[in-house]
Subunit: 641 residues, 2 copies
């Protein structure tokens, strides 16, 4: 096959690639980063490059005008190399590094009465062996097993060949005194012998921490808690954007990207492993420990995140009839999962329920305690997939509605993630229509995050700038409302106030996306309540998980019809319930058993095949809802206006 | 560190190595083969090279004269690079490739009544799954498990992450019809769930063989039997020299070589894996199968061979108090063992008993059936370590005596292995002292193999050329007896009759080595019989394993005092009992349980700490023995003379 030379202006050297190579692949080989937020589908247009010399075939120009093409612009993910090229790559959007203590995870209290001797499956035991002699020529392995039997009551053990190779040396190095770390109760095989994770020469002092990590892989953010399994204390909490974002902002884009080739699956996998392993190193540095001392990990995350972490093809998740390859992955060793801790460490992924109700939700239910309460409870994780669970200790039903990423700032022109520079709360004056707002970090605004959008929409609705159908009323006596490029728009911040030097606005297109998002979530509640034949009002508590949920203003979320209209005291924000569930399962075998029980008890309702959902969704596409009687306090507020 | 250039005359290009590198290591890097039969100890002198330019430091010149050193000769395993060198490497001894059907393994009959449904732990099941739908969104893994439960009664399964990654694709490729291969009863964890080895799209026809291999790793020869686990038939038998020979001819040399560095351990491991995997490929070619279709392996071999196969340090085997790292290795997967069959195939190593009574002996006992007979039985494997077992279904005692490699042709000037050109049988005329002999392959002789040496020694003794003490009588009326370089010697073949153009002789030094070897083995019998308080004569049958044993002439072995003097019909030659034991354990879970039972029942007697042994050894250092009353038939033959 013919080879061509591709020179990227930002790369030190050109690369040679065969005919038919995609420009993004050539860039990867040249070490040039080109972000692909839509996963390389040619939909988002963010991988724009300019072909300076040579010609290339454009498979799609969806996001390009005729002028763009004429000027040499091309989408790197849709452009095929067919000759020598010189390509100019614009500066790529930097994903801001956070590497900070997760804001949502306050000081975590150890579960009451935590006793590692009862709850913890990892045991560390100090052993003193009888040295071999001409009178006792027992082999090292049997000698070790005998000591475990004698001194720790552990009848049988398993170990990897890698561990067996080291036993003789370790026993002699320690002068026949060693410290063994074992997993005594495997999740997927309770009858299996204990697994020997680690054997070290000498006796490790009792007060040395026994390290474990709870990992939550969010589509956007990865969170790691470093835990001392002896005390149960969380010793470090770190979080960072998921490195996969550069290859797709939502799960669907990532599945599409990963399905392209074995290489792209490997890349997607390495990206998230890179994030996880860097976080683990950071957490270890803070606690003056080393990753190789971590002997256990639990992992929560949505089904796609778990599949991609483990390199399991996820294509069936996005295609009818939407099934996962596996909901509950068997216990793994860290080396096979690729997690940079002790290679023999136990890695337990929490169980999922369906393609769009994953281990993040079962972990959430576990940590919310809703599976153990008499109260009829609604648990929700407001995000792209709007996973919702309704139930109590008696029953659990669940569904996921494709809310889309509007609340994460995508699909909204000036939307952004909830980081520095995002407007997170807005107030609109009912007479002047002038807004005031609060910005994360107290800096000049760059855009609106989810909570800002909810707040803005509620204010615009209650002040009459926006009607029940989401339309912006032109003709109000304010320069803030105007005819924009995409129809009527409301200016939240003038160019001179912003970081970008451009007006921050919200248009009907944006509002329509928000309406669809909130309608999908609310319709989900309706279907769940209908499915068990109870009115939504009988819900006794609403538990909101997810770090996003934490920043929602309940009053305003009710006003737009995102949350059901109930007394505010019924709402509780739980923060990152996913990592907290992983933490509970890390500590306690009973919690681990409970989360499996939760997964098996949850009845999943597939909304895409449900007419009730469609009807409920259509009724909810209004502010706050077609049926205002469902939102009495909002009705009253409108009347007051 | 300073780097030096070493150019070997037989290498295409020089290599650069740091100061202090051994010449053998430099040679390895240059791709130059230098055999090290003593494992690089500087003892055998067979890695002789000549330094043509430059100077090097000789750590040992044990085998070199002052003239040799002056002429530039050096032992590659003892010579340290300290400057640029040009080195001349003489042609290396070629280890003749055999790659033939094992001569000793005749047509193997399948154990009577073999029923794979009862005996075999591997099950192959054809499954038809209900395809997923919007009404049934069960994940692939659970769907597969449900089918196994429903169609094969297999309640729970385990699988590696690598297998789990492929399940979704395989199910869809097969249109929800698949064939699963499982290991239903793990040896080391009978309570563990069945292990999913392989999943293939479609229904594999019932008459397709289900492949397994029985592997015997001898210090000298590796044997592989390819078996159809459904019929139990051995479909191919292949054998080849163990590739490790080039790094040590006996187990001690190999342990020393492997203990030098991680690299030398890796090399020793790869050498035997190379032999095994090549044999498997050959066996597959003969049966038109592929290695990836082999789903189970059993491995027998002495303790050192098993350790080195698996990369487990073996140093403790050769050092007081002579303990192994592990006698019974847990079940492995082929990928971790490095065996080139299905990567997920089950690999069961048979259990050993002690450093010098390994899995080859437990396998031998199993296949000999001595653990299941009323008759007091002596089982022996005549070789370097002379492992011997005495017992019956009631009790088993065992020992190993360091016989040395004399019977394998080493330590004897014109000794050689039993291959083409070896004199395997000799007759000496009692009046003329002229010999006649038989040569393997019917060609001109090159030397004497073990059976030839036994035969020659017996004939020389009975014809009076050699006395009771092993001394050659000078002054006999024959040119065959003469004073040689190392004292008196007997010429077996004149230069003009031989391949080498040199006389083939046996000297007192050679005879002394043979006496020590046979005395050690006979003393072993004595100690075993003493230990249980029975006279050696009460042994009802003598079972001789090992391919070498098969060629021994019983009459002559008794005449030199190697075997006890009993009626010939009590002796039975069983050939390679080790591979046969591996074969039985491969087929039948009951045999597998039996060999473990054998290993645990065998009482090991350490001879190096036993005074009885030393006395018995000294008494046996005569032809046939100090106490001629122990050898009545030999006494009678001498009288007749």
């Amino acid at each position: 096959m013919a080879e061509h030379t591709v020179q990227f202006d930002v790369a030190p050297a050109p690369v040679k690639v065969p005919t038919g190579t995609l420009l993004v692949e050539a860039a990867r080989q040249a070490g040039v980063e080109i972000t692909q937020p839509c996963g390389g589908q040619g939909r988002c247009g963010r991988c724009l490059v300019r072909i300076v010399e040579g010609t290339a075939r454009r498979r799609s120009t969806l996001r390009l005008s005729a002028e763009d093409v004429k000027a040499g612009y091309a989408l790197a993910c849709q452009t095929v190399v067919e000759g020598d090229l010189v390509v100019s790559v614009p500066p790529q959007e930097k994903i801001e590094r956070r590497l900070t203590t997760d804001r949502t995870a306050a000081a975590i209290s150890v579960p009451a009465g935590y006793d590692p001797a009862v709850a913890q499956t990892i045991q560390r035991v100090r052993l003193t062996l009888t040295p071999p002699s001409m009178e006792d020529q027992t082999d090292d392995w049997s000698r070790l097993k005998a000591a475990l039997r004698r001194e720790a009551g552990i009848e049988e053990i398993r170990a990897s060949l890698a561990t067996i190779r080291q036993i003789g040396t370790t026993l002699r190095e320690g002068g026949w005194q060693v410290t063994a770390t074992l997993d005594t109760r495997s999740w997927d095989c309770p009858d299996c012998p204990a697994y020997l994770i680690d054997l070290r020469p000498g006796h490790i002092p009792d007060d040395t921490p026994l390290w474990g990590v709870a990992i939550d892989i969010g589509t956007t953010t990865v969170t790691v808690w470093l835990v001392d399994l002896l005390s149960g204390e969380v010793r470090a909490q770190v979080a960072e954007y998921n490195g996969q974002i550069a290859r797709g902002e939502d799960v669907i884009s990532r599945i599409i990207y990963a399905s392209k080739s074995e290489e792209s699956m490997a890349e997607i996998r390495e990206l998230v492993l890179g994030t996880i392993n860097e976080l683990i190193e950071t957490a270890c540095k803070r606690t003056k420990s080393t990753p190789a001392d971590i002997v256990k990990a639990t992992v929560a995350g949505n089904s796609t995140m778990i599949h991609l972490l483990l390199g399991i093809p996820a294509e069936s998740i996005r295609l009818t009839p939407f099934v996962t390859a596996i909901n509950h992955v068997p216990t793994l060793r860290a080396w096979e999962a690729g997690i940079g801790i002790h290679p023999e460490a136990t890695v337990d992924c929490l169980p999922g329920v369906a393609s769009y109700v994953g281990a993040d939700i079962t972990a959430g239910v576990l940590s919310s305690g809703m599976d153990d309460t008499d109260k009829v409870t609604l648990f929700m994780d407001i995000g792209t997939n709007g996973e919702t669970v309704l139930g109590s200790h008696e029953w659990l039903v669940t569904c996921a509605c494709s809310a889309g990423p509007a609340f994460e700032g995508a699909g909204v022109m000036h939307g952004m993630r909830a980081t520095r520079g995002a407007i997170e709360e807005v107030w609109v004056n009912g007479e002047t229509f002038e807004p005031t707002y609060r910005v994360i970090g107290g800096v000049k605004p760059r855009g609106l995050c989810g909570s800002g959008l909810i707040s803005l929409l509620a204010e615009l609705f209650l002040t009459g700038v926006v009607d029940k159908g989401g339309h912006i009323k032109l003709g109000l006596d304010t320069p803030r409302v105007r005819e924009g490029e995409h129809g009527p728009e409301y200016v939240v911040a003038w160019a001179e106030e912003t970081q970008t030097g451009q007006d921050i606005v919200i248009s009907y297109v944006d509002i329509d996306n928000l309406l669809r998002a909130k309608a999908a979530i609310y319709a989900g509640f309706t279907v769940l309540a209908d499915s068990v034949g109870i009115p939504l009002e009988s819900v006794e508590q609403v538990l909101i998980g997810g770090s996003f949920g934490k920043y929602i203003n309940v009053e305003k979320a009710i006003q737009i019809g995102l949350l059901p209209d109930m007394p505010w005291e019924r709402f509780h924000f739980l923060g990152n319930t996913s990592v907290r569930g992983a933490y509970l399962a890390l500590l306690d075998a009973r919690s681990r058993a409970r989360v499996r029980d939760i997964a098996s008890r949850m009845t999943y309702i597939e909304l895409s095949a449900d007419n009730t959902f469609y009807e409920a969704f259509m009724s909810a596409l209004f502010l706050p809802h077609t049926d205002i009687s469902r939102f009495p306090t909002v009705g009253a507020a409108i009347l007051k206006r």
